[in-house]
Amino acid sequence: MTSVENPSEVLVETVTTVNGRVVTANVPARLHVADFLRQHLGLTGTHLGCEQGACGMCTVIVDGEAVKSCLMLACQLDGRNVQTVESLAEGDELNPLQQAFKEEHALQCGFCSPGFLMTATALAHQGRRPGRDEIREEITGVLCRCTGYDNVVTAIERWFAENPQGASEDPLPAVTDTIATQG
């Protein structure tokens, strides 16, 4: 079969930091961040539920802010700092936010959990200390079809109550090494 060249397949060199590692990659220009994280870096904890900015499954933190990674192109990460759910656990231990989710039964199928965890983590990065009603509002960008949300709100509320120092933590993981990946 003779092949016809595809004009849409353009590669862009991108240098970004993901969970503390510098990543140099040649990414297709139309690749969004979630696919880049999942397919190129194997960070499959970031999920996709709509690719339309409506469900929040793909929420990650870019330069300290919660971002829907299906709405951002991988090449736009150039020079930025990305944090995904894989960075949260402390060694083999869940971090206090994850532990609160576990103890409050804030997940059932767990497909939405990374979105909620990153949204809450971003709130802390911003120095926010939301109350219960505010938490409800803040997490409306992430949908959950299993839990009815009550336990998610409770887990986040408890985490803020028990970790008043949360926001003064270093917002982003330190750079540890570098990796290169092909487009």
Binding site: E9, T84, C109
Partner: protein, 817 residues
């Protein structure tokens, strides 16, 4: 959560002794660590080397003849590896099969790609595999497909009219796929002699389960080994294996289906869909792994929808409010094809809800329309009829000027009546329905509300309280029942337990993990029965290559059936463990007990062996008692003798603006009985999650089709409103715990109850508030606009002729549900 009876006492009754009990406690979940660390393995996370990506071209019309397919330009695009067209499918596959057929329905020629005519927007027509999803989608743009649009019908009643375009003329003369009627007694005579008859037409909205993880499949073929490995997001991997083998003309032994983590199922992920077949065919042709991940636009058109139906309900009563008869004739929309679980069957099974009637009938008309196929969705027909009969109960109370709570109480099946068979043959096992009703009424201070009268608040709003009492069929009433209904699966569950040299027990099950916490609950049962630590039990779920053949996770049946199998296998494993240890310690077997990580002499704990040592003895066969076979493994099967019926009552308090129809749900109380509770936190989570879906379907969710174009107008997450964290009312949960006599440990299913009562309770509350305005809602969803229309007497409806039953001879006693 308030639990009235300690379920643990019931556990004692079935022979679990005074160990530290795990059943009945809120153990932290086995599933959580991996899911919280982003380390779950959902289907799209499976990423084999050299994987290729599939994209699917779909019919853009509701009904169209496919005149020509030219895929040459697409096939020539750089990166495209393979294309399948309708002709390939006709040559290489059999039609898709149905798991839960509609009795009396012919098999429809449903192929993975539309043959000649497509019957709904979104039906697959061509599939393409390429080096990336992007390239595969580029190739779709290059396909040249000519369609000839045909007349379509999207309204379920219009589809039954004689002039409607017929969807499947090769096997049917009309769009009635089949009609099923059931009943007992002489309802017509009861209606003739009744003092009062209330009746109405109730329209239930088309909604969709919308799991956050869409469907997906990764297929891999090793021709030399004749081994097709299929990772899929499914509630029923063993049934996927069966259906794929049938459709692909393979042996079951050639297929291994794996569903590890499933991001929500809710009934939608039951059985094989066209894309599963397509991915396998591509993988077989290419000898390379092929992945398809459904995007959300495809999900809205190519998965399944649910619930849409029109019910003509009647209740006859005497002047004291005693119900004499109840009937429901309804048309239920199945869409363009019969999906694996097709039309919901429980609308007929529990059409009388918790009320005791001996004369009644129900008739289901399963109707084809040019819309996305309907499949199972949590609740499976029960929310639909609950809305209708509970709305009519309130109308009956108003007609007779009776207290609606008293009217309900007077007609409920009582504990003394049970086991009790309803007019279609469903056997209600046990429970105290009235107690739940009274608890709900007390919780919302119903007496105070009645006494206060309908005085508007200073802001003009009127307050109303509404109730919805329900029963929920959980599990199946035996394989005999399923056989009568033509279902191709069993009522049982099977598990394998295997001891390992680390001192742990591995549990192998075909029940995939989709949020129902089965890994946790299964481990709790095994730990309890064996006497070992919860942490020592590990559940391996959803791999047909490793688990015994089973049925799967649906119909709130998992725990009911699996608990029996787990108990039996655990007992076998524990008994052998004690025999080996007794021989090694030279102690009598009946004095041995397993306790945590050791097996020991009950009266002398210094005489103990580590479980790891005993298990190793069995696994190596070295040091076994002479008469004992080596190995330590048990497989058990369990079929519950009957279905268990969960039950409860919800009460909603609303404040309605009688000018605009706007309303707030100020309180929502659910009193629910799920029998013996294995894990209180998980049960509460299931109930709350079900309620969230129930509120969505009752208040904001509705898939709308444009009658002119036949197209879905709100098929995206931006336009279809599932509840967010800020949208749900505060829910107060109360529980009773009456053990079911027909299930292991007395458990009842808990997965679906929450979906049932929100619509009826909220609608009854609104109608209570607006009783002086004569508002009687009869359609879902309940929106301010619908209330405003009803207030202004603008409601549409009326005029349509009632659905009348087609049979006069009723099969007495029904078909034994």
């Amino acid at each position: 959560m308030t639990t009235l009876e300690d379920p643990a006492t019931e556990v004692d009754a079935v022979g679990v002794h005074e160990r530290r009990r795990v059943i009945g406690t809120s153990q932290l979940r086995k599933e959580d660590d991996r899911l919280l660390r982003g380390d779950g393995r959902f289907t799209d996370d499976v990423d084999p080397a050299r994987v290729l990506y599939m994209a699917v071209a779909r019919c853009p019309y509701p009904h169209a003849r496919i005149v020509r397919v030219d895929a040459s330009a697409a096939a020539a695009l750089d990166g495209v590896e393979h294309v399948l067209t309708p002709a390939d499918i006709r040559r290489d596959t059999e039609p898709l099969t149905v798991l839960r057929p509609v009795p009396g329905a012919p098999q429809l020629p449903y192929y993975a790609l539309a043959q000649d005519v497509a019957t709904h927007e979104g039906q697959p027509v061509v599939s393409v595999v390429a080096s990336s999803r992007h390239v595969a989608e580029d190739a779709l743009e290059l396909l040249d497909i000519s369609y000839e649009p045909l007349p379509h019908v999207v309204d379920v009643l219009a589809a039954l009219e004689p002039d409607a375009p017929v969807l499947h003329p090769s096997v049917l003369d009309s769009n009635l796929l089949a009609a099923n009627s059931d009943g007992s007694g002489d309802p017509d005579a009861r209606f003739a002699e009744a003092d009062v008859v209330v009746e109405g037409r109730f329209r239930i909205n088309r909604v969709t389960a919308l799991p956050m993880e869409t469907r997906g499949v990764v297929a891999e073929w090793r021709p030399g080994a004749r081994e097709l490995t299929v990772h899929c997001s499914s509630q029923v991997p063993h049934l996927i294996r069966k259906q794929l083998a049938e459709t692909l003309r393979l042996h079951e032994s050639d297929v291994r289906a794996v569903a590890s983590d499933v991001g929500g199922g809710f009934g939608l992920k039951l059985g094989v869909f066209p894309e599963d077949v397509l991915a396998c065919l591509h993988a077989i042709a290419l000898r390379r792994p092929v992945k398809w991940s459904e995007d959300r636009a495809e999900h809205f058109r190519g998965s399944t929808h649910a619930r849409e139906s029109v019910h003509d309900y009647r209740i006859a009563a005497d002047s004291t409010g005693r119900i004499l008869a109840m009937t429901n004739v309804y048309a239920t929309d199945i869409g363009g094809w019969n999906s694996p679980f097709g039309s919901a069957q429980l609308s007929s099974v529990v059409f009388n809800g918790p009320y005791k009637i001996s004369d009644g009938y129900t008739e289901r008309r399963v109707t084809l329309t040019n819309k996305t196929p309907v499949g199972a969705y949590r609740g499976y027909g029960q929310p639909e009829v609950n809305f209708a009969y509970e709305r009519l109960m309130d109308q009956l109370a108003r007609r007779l000027e009776l207290d609606p709570v008293e009217l309900r109480a007077r007609n409920m099946v009582t504990p003394r009546d049970m086991p009790w068979k309803n007019p279609v043959g469903a056997v209600y096992d046990s429970g105290d329905y009235e107690r739940c009703l009274r608890m709900a009424a007390d919780a919302v201070d119903w007496a105070g509300h009645r006494a206060a009268g309908r005085t508007p608040r200073p802001d003009g709003r009127l307050v109303g309280i509404g109730f919805a009492s329900f029963v929920e069929r959980t599990g199946y009433a035996s394989s005999r029942f399923l056989a009568k209904r033509g279902s191709v699966f069993g009522a049982h569950e099977s598990v394998t337990l295997r001891a390992n040299r680390s001192g742990g027990i591995d549990v192998y099950t075909g029940v995939s993990t989709m949020g129902q916490s089965s890994e946790t609950a299964f481990a709790q049962v095994v730990a309890d029965v064996v006497g070992t630590d919860y942490d020592a039990v590990r559940v391996h779920a959803g791999d047909t290559g490793a688990s015994p053949l089973n049925t799967g996770a649906f119909a709130s049946r998992t725990m009911i059936a699996a608990a029996g199998a787990l108990r039996s296998a655990a007992e076998q494993l524990a008994a052998k463990t004690r025999r080996i240890a007794a021989w090694q310690l030279e102690a009598p077997v009946d004095e041995m007990e397993v306790a945590g990580s050791v097996v020991r002499v009950r009266a002398d704990h210094s005489r103990a062996l580590p479980l790891a040592a005993v298990y190793t003895t069995a696994i190596t066969g070295q040091g076994m008692p002479p008469e004992e076979e080596p190995g330590l493994e048990a497989t058990a099967h369990f079929e519950p003798p009957d279905a268990a019926y969960s039950f409860g009552t919800a009460a909603a308090q609303v404040a309605v603006d009688p000018l605009t129809g706007e309303f707030d749900i100020e309180r929502f109380v659910l009193v629910h009985d799920g029998g013996t509770v294995v894990n209180p936190t998980i049960v509460e989570g299931q109930v709350r999650g079900g309620l969230a879906q129930g509120f969505g379907a009752a208040l904001t969710e509705e898939l709308r089709y444009d009658p002119e174009t036949g197209q879905l107008v709100n098929g995206s997450m931006v336009d279809y409103f599932v509840p967010t964290a800020a949208d749900l009312p505060h829910v107060e949960l109360l529980h009773t715990a009456v053990p079911s006599p027909v299930t292991p440990f007395g458990v009842r299913g808990v997965g679906e109850a929450g979906t049932i009562p929100p619509g009826a309770a909220v609608a009854n509350a609104v109608c209570d508030a607006l009783a002086d305005h004569g508002v009687e809602l009869s359609a879902l969803p309940i929106t301010p606009e619908a209330i405003w229309s009803a207030l202004a007497g603008r409601s549409s409806g009326g005029g349509d002729p009632e659905l009348t039953p087609t049979t006069t001879d009723l099969p007495d006693g029904g078909v034994e549900y």
